[in-house]
Symmetry: C2
Subunit: 177 residues, 2 copies
DNA sequence: TTGACAGGTTCCATTTTGCAACCATAATTA
DNA sequence: TAATTATGGTTGCAAAATGGAACCTGTCAA
């Protein structure tokens, strides 16, 4: 499978991977969240080559995750900022951080903590059900095929990849309607 | 910066990126979550070459995210399963899926939905404060340096990368104790 | 006028990936 | 019994992505 074909898949993780599945992109986004926005600051703080950084930033701009903001008209200087689509990656950054904090952290402990300003406490974010508010886990959730697959199935437009990925789920749901 | 140096950083996102920052690893983990566990099934369903899949699975085993499980003694056949460390990636998978569903989904709609079995509804998972239970967002959270940085700072052991990343946060907190 | 800085681009070597062929073991079929 | 198939790989080479260093352009500051 070629790289372009991955982004063409129905799966949202595949599409996200086609954007972030490389050495640098997620780290660049992290810098932007931390307020490191200028080309040279990002470049030096990451130790990425200018070449690669130019490339990745352009990709992020193409994907409308980042935009260039003129912060100094006299000098014609730009900084890179997250769009709404980019800012929406906040939960992803948080869950990755938490996984890393738990499993790959060094003995000194967690490097940063999230504070919930409304209650003033360290937040320790966790995923909850938007309906009843209770915490979600692997044990109390199941997967269900959504409209994206149901529609494709109805008009016989499922790709081979889709069939392998979601076929089992579809079969289950057809048996117990 | 070389690839090995990235995993040596204090930042949890950097460490996670050093594991998942490639074309395939996250997609392999997705297959495992979906119950696609055998070498040839993963290989065919992803369109990854055997070569690469061997490589990535071994890396995941090294990182103790995946382990080999003998499922047929007669044939000496193994399947790949997620360890606790691997299963703990569930929130990451969910938040990435949600981001993808919102921003890069095709017009047919969401491919899969998460159902909360306790309340029976589609879950639409969101991050909440473990202390007060209220939803978290970029607007109601702030970052604070944790023990990992405080300790390194105290014994003057912050790397240059750490200083650039967390220096600003540290300064802020020293000013307003 | 010289130097420095921000923000790149160009060129080439190195590393990572993709593709195809091959291999070993065990089971199944002819 | 011999040939074929399935699983789970390994090997070798070409193609693509990445890293490193040098170079370029526009602006300002000394």
């Amino acid at each position: 499978m070629r790289w372009d074909d991955i982004s063409a898949q129905t799966c949202s993780i595949a599409k996200a991977t086609s954007i972030f599945g490389d050495r640098w992109t997620l780290l660049i986004v992290r810098q932007l969240f931390l307020g490191i926005r200028r080309f040279s600051d990002i470049q030096q703080s990451l130790g990425i080559t200018k070449h690669r950084l130019t490339d990745r930033l352009n990709r992020l701009i193409e994907e409308e995750i980042v935009f260039k903001h003129l912060y100094d008209e006299r000098y014609n200087r730009y900084e890179y900022r997250l769009t709404e689509k980019g800012l929406d990656l906040y939960p992803v950054m948080i869950t990755i951080t938490q996984w890393g904090d738990k499993w790959v952290c060094d003995h000194d402990g967690v490097p940063v903590e999230y504070v919930h300003t409304e209650c003033g406490e360290v937040a320790n974010p966790r995923l909850c059900c938007s309906c009843c508010g209770k915490p979600l886990s692997l044990d109390n959730t199941t997967l269900k095929v959504g409209p994206g697959i149901v529609k494709k199935c109805a008009r016989d437009a499922m790709s081979d990849v889709d069939k392998m990925l979601y076929g089992r789920l579809l079969d289950q749901q057809e048996q117990e309607p």
